[in-house]
C-alpha cells in the first residue's frame, strides 16, 4: 500500500483536519450569531467552550455515556449563558466586559473542577467512516466524520432559515436591530436576549464537548487555545450569516490543521509559527472585513461592538 503521498498528503491532512477541527468553531460561531442577532455580544464563549469540554468529559467518564456528556456540556454552557444574560440585564452594565469576566470564570471553574479528570480516559463519541472506500489510510482518516459535525451543518442551514423566515427569527432580529420597535410590539427585550444568550451558550457548550470527546478527544488545560474567541471574530467575517459561519469555520479548521499536517511530513522547525496561523488569519480577515466609515452589512444595529 502506498502511504507516502508527499504534498498531497499535506493537502488531504489539511482537508481532513478542516472537517475535524472546524466543528467547535461552527458551534461557537452559530451560538454567537444567535446571541449577536439579538443585540448582545458574549465574549465569554471561550470560557463556555472550556467548561463544556470539561463537563462533557467528566460526565462521559463517570456515566460511561458520551452522549450524556454532550447534553450536560450544553446545559453547562446554557448556565453560563444565563449568567451572562442576567448580569447584562442590569442597567448600565457593559456586555463586552461581562464576557471577559465569564471567559476568566468559565476557564477557572473548568480547570479547578476538571483537575481530577485529567488522568482518566473517558469513552469517545463514535464516528462514521465515510472514507472506507479508499485504499489510502490518509483519506480514510480524513473522512472519519462525527455526528456532531453533521448536526452542526444541518443546524447552520436551519438557523439561517429560521432567522429569515420564522416568527421567532423575526422577533430576535427586531430586538437586535431596534429595541424601541421591539418594545412597541410588546416584546420583552431582556427576555429575548436572555433566551438567545442561553441557547448560544448551549451551542458553545456542545462545541466544547466535541473537543474533549472526539478531537483531540482528551481533557487537559491546554485543550482550547482561543478557538472560542476566534469563533466570535469569524462571526463578524461571516456577516452574521449562519451558513457563511459554516464555510468560514471550515477555513479556520484548515488553518488550524496546517501546523500539525506539516509537522507530520517532517516540517517541524517552525511549528509554533504555523500554530499562530489561525490567529493571524483571524486578524487579517477582521481588518479586511471591517470599515471605519460604514456599518457592516448584516450587523445588528443594537450591537455594542458594531457601533
Amino acid at each position: 500500500m502506498v502511504t507516502d503521498l508527499g504534498g498531497w498528503g499535506v493537502l488531504i491532512a489539511v482537508v481532513g483536519g478542516a472537517i475535524r477541527v472546524s466543528t467547535p468553531y461552527l458551534y461557537v460561531s452559530l451560538g454567537e450569531t444567535l446571541t449577536e442577532k439579538s443585540g448582545r455580544v458574549n465574549l465569554g464563549l471561550e470560557g463556555t467552550l472550556v467548561m463544556g469540554a470539561m463537563s462533557a468529559y467528566a460526565v462521559a467518564y463517570l456515566t460511561g455515556s458520551p452522549w450524556l456528556g454532550v447534553l450536560v456540556a450544553g446545559c453547562a454552557g446554557a448556565g453560563l449563558g444565563l449568567l451572562h444574560a442576567a448580569v447584562c440585564n442590569l442597567p448600565r452594565v457593559n456586555d463586552v466586559a461581562v464576557g471577559i469576566a465569564l471567559f476568566l470564570l468559565g476557564t477557572g471553574l473548568a480547570f479547578s473542577l476538571g483537575k481530577p479528570f485529567i488522568q482518566p480516559v473517558a469513552p469517545r463519541l463514535p464516528s462514521v467512516a465515510l472514507g472506507a472506500w479508499s485504499a489510502y489510510p490518509q483519506i480514510r482518516a480524513a473522512l472519519e466524520i462525527n455526528a456532531l459535525f453533521v448536526a452542526g451543518v444541518v443546524l447552520a442551514a436551519l438557523m439561517r432559515w429560521a432567522l429569515a423566515h420564522t416568527r421567532w427569527g423575526l422577533i430576535v432580529r427586531t430586538v437586535g436591530d431596534n429595541e424601541d420597535a421591539a418594545r412597541a410590539l410588546g416584546r420583552s427585550v431582556d427576555l429575548v436576549r436572555t433566551l438567545s444568550t442561553a441557547v448560544g451558550g448551549f451551542l458553545a457548550g456542545l462545541g466544547g464537548s466535541f473537543l474533549s470527546l472526539y478531537y483531540p478527544g482528551t481533557w487537559n488545560e491546554a485543550l482550547s487555545s482561543g478557538q472560542g474567541l476566534m469563533a466570535i471574530a469569524l462571526v463578524i467575517f461571516a456577516r452574521w450569516n449562519p451558513v457563511r459561519c459554516f464555510w468560514v469555520s471550515l477555513l479556520f479548521g484548515g488553518a488550524t490543521a496546517l501546523g500539525p499536517a506539516l509537522q507530520s511530513v517532517g516540517f517541524t522547525s517552525n511549528y509554533y509559527l504555523y500554530g499562530a496561523a489561525p490567529y493571524v488569519l483571524t486578524l487579517v480577515l477582521l481588518v479586511w472585513s471591517s470599515s471605519p466609515t460604514r456599518v457592516l452589512a448584516g450587523a445588528p444595529s443594537e450591537l455594542s461592538i458594531s457601533r
Binding site: P91, V93, I100, S112, L229, I236, V280
Partner: protein, 347 residues
C-alpha cells in the same frame, strides 16, 4: 474623580462586590467539603499575614499595576483593550534582545535601554491595535485578544529555536541577560524595584490624565465621541497615544519580569498577569491611582494561591475562580452607581 461622596460611593459599592465574591467563593469551597472561614483566614494569611507574605503580595502586584494601566488608559478614551498579556510578552522578548545586544554596555545604560525596548515593543503592539481601530474600524477588544495569542506563539517560536539557550533544561527558554543587568531588590526588603516602577507609572498616568489638557481631552473622547469630534479634537492621535502608553506600561511589566524575576524569556512570562490586570482596571474603575491599590489586593490573591493549594488541596485554578467571581460581581455592582441616595450630591 470629583467629590469625597463619589469616592465613598465607589468604596461602598466595591466593598459590597468584594463581600458578595467572598460569599460566592465560600459556597464554591464549601461544595468541596471545606469550611469557608478557614479558607478566608488562609487567604488573608497568605496575602498579608506575615512580612514574607506581604513581600510576595507586593512583588506580585508590580506587574499587575502595569498591565492594569494597559486597560485603564485606553478605557479613558472609550476603548476596551485587553491585550496586556501579549504586550507583556513582547516587552519581555524585546528586553532580552536589548540586554543581549548591549552585553558590553555599562549596566545603568543597559537597564535603561532594556526598559525602553520593553516599553517601545509593548507600546507598538497595542498602538497597532489602536491604529487598526482608528484607521480600519477593527474592534480593539477582539484584535488585542488575538494579539495575545500571536505574541505567545511568537515567543514560543523564538525560545524554542532562534534565541534558545540550550543550557536551560527545565523548559525552553531564551538566552539570559547578563547578571549585572538584573534589577535587584529595594534595600532592606525582598521586593524588587519593579514595584517602584509600577507605582511611578500609576502616579505618572494619574498626573497626565487628571492635570493636563491632554487628559481632559481624552476624558471628553471617552465620554462622548461626537462631542470630541465637534470640538475638533485629534481623535486618532489620542487613541494612538493612550493605546501606546497602555501598551508601554504592559511592556515594562515584561521588562520587570525578565530583568527582576527570571533573567530570560520563557512561557513563564505568560502566566496571566495581563488578564488579572484587566480585572484590576475594572475594579479600579479605570482610575490610575486606584489601579495601584487594587493591584495590591489582587496580588494578595495570587500570593495566597500557594497556601490554599498546600493547606486545602485546592487546585491552583481556584484563585482563577475567585478572580472570575470578583470580576462578575464588580460588573454586576456597576449597576448600583447613582442609586444610593446618601451619595447624591446636594443640588
Amino acid at each position: 474623580m470629583a467629590s469625597w461622596k463619589s469616592w465613598a460611593e465607589t468604596a461602598t459599592i466595591s466593598a459590597a462586590a468584594l463581600l458578595a465574591t467572598l460569599a460566592l467563593f465560600g459556597g464554591f469551597v464549601a461544595l468541596r467539603g471545606l469550611r469557608p472561614l478557614d479558607v478566608y483566614a488562609a487567604l488573608f494569611t497568605g496575602a498579608f499575614g506575615s512580612w514574607f507574605a506581604i513581600e510576595e503580595t507586593l512583588t506580585q502586584s508590580a506587574p499587575l499595576m502595569l498591565t492594569a494601566l494597559c486597560t485603564a488608559l485606553p478605557a479613558r478614551a472609550g476603548l476596551l483593550v485587553i491585550g496586556g498579556e501579549g504586550a507583556l510578552v513582547v516587552g519581555g522578548l524585546a528586553t532580552v534582545l536589548a540586554g543581549v545586544l548591549l552585553v558590553d554596555a555599562p549596566a545603568p545604560l543597559a537597564v535603561i535601554a532594556m526598559g525602553a525596548a520593553g516599553a517601545l515593543a509593548g507600546g507598538a503592539w497595542i498602538g497597532a491595535a489602536g491604529a487598526l481601530r482608528h484607521r480600519r474600524g477593527v474592534n480593539e477588544t477582539i484584535s488585542t485578544l488575538l494579539l495575545n495569542y500571536i505574541a505567545i506563539a511568537v515567543m514560543n517560536h523564538l525560545v524554542t529555536g532562534p534565541i534558545r539557550d540550550y543550557a536551560q533544561v527545565l523548559k525552553p527558554a531564551s538566552w539570559s541577560i547578563a547578571e549585572g543587568f538584573r534589577i535587584g531588590d529595594i534595600p532592606g526588603t525582598g521586593i524588587h524595584w519593579g514595584l517602584a516602577v509600577g507605582v511611578a507609572a500609576a502616579l505618572l498616568a494619574y498626573g497626565l490624565m487628571r492635570h493636563t489638557t491632554f487628559g481632559f481631552a481624552v476624558d471628553i473622547l471617552g465620554g462622548n465621541v461626537r462631542a470630541a469630534r465637534m470640538a475638533g479634537l485629534p481623535i486618532g492621535r489620542m487613541i494612538l497615544t493612550t493605546c501606546f502608553m497602555g501598551g508601554a506600561a504592559a511592556g515594562l511589566a515584561g521588562t520587570i519580569e525578565v530583568a527582576a524575576v527570571h533573567g530570560f524569556a520563557s512561557s513563564s512570562l505568560a502566566v496571566g498577569y495581563g488578564y488579572t490586570g484587566i480585572l484590576a482596571a475594572f475594579l479600579a474603575r479605570q482610575h490610575p491611582l486606584a489601579v495601584a491599590v487594587v493591584a495590591i489586593l489582587l496580588g494578595g490573591i495570587s500570593a495566597s494561591g500557594g497556601l490554599l493549594q498546600r493547606r486545602f488541596g485546592l487546585p491552583d485554578a481556584a484563585t482563577l475562580v475567585l478572580r472570575g467571581l470578583l470580576f462578575v460581581a464588580v460588573l454586576a455592582a456597576s449597576t448600583l452607581y447613582g442609586r444610593g441616595r446618601v451619595f447624591r450630591r446636594a443640588a
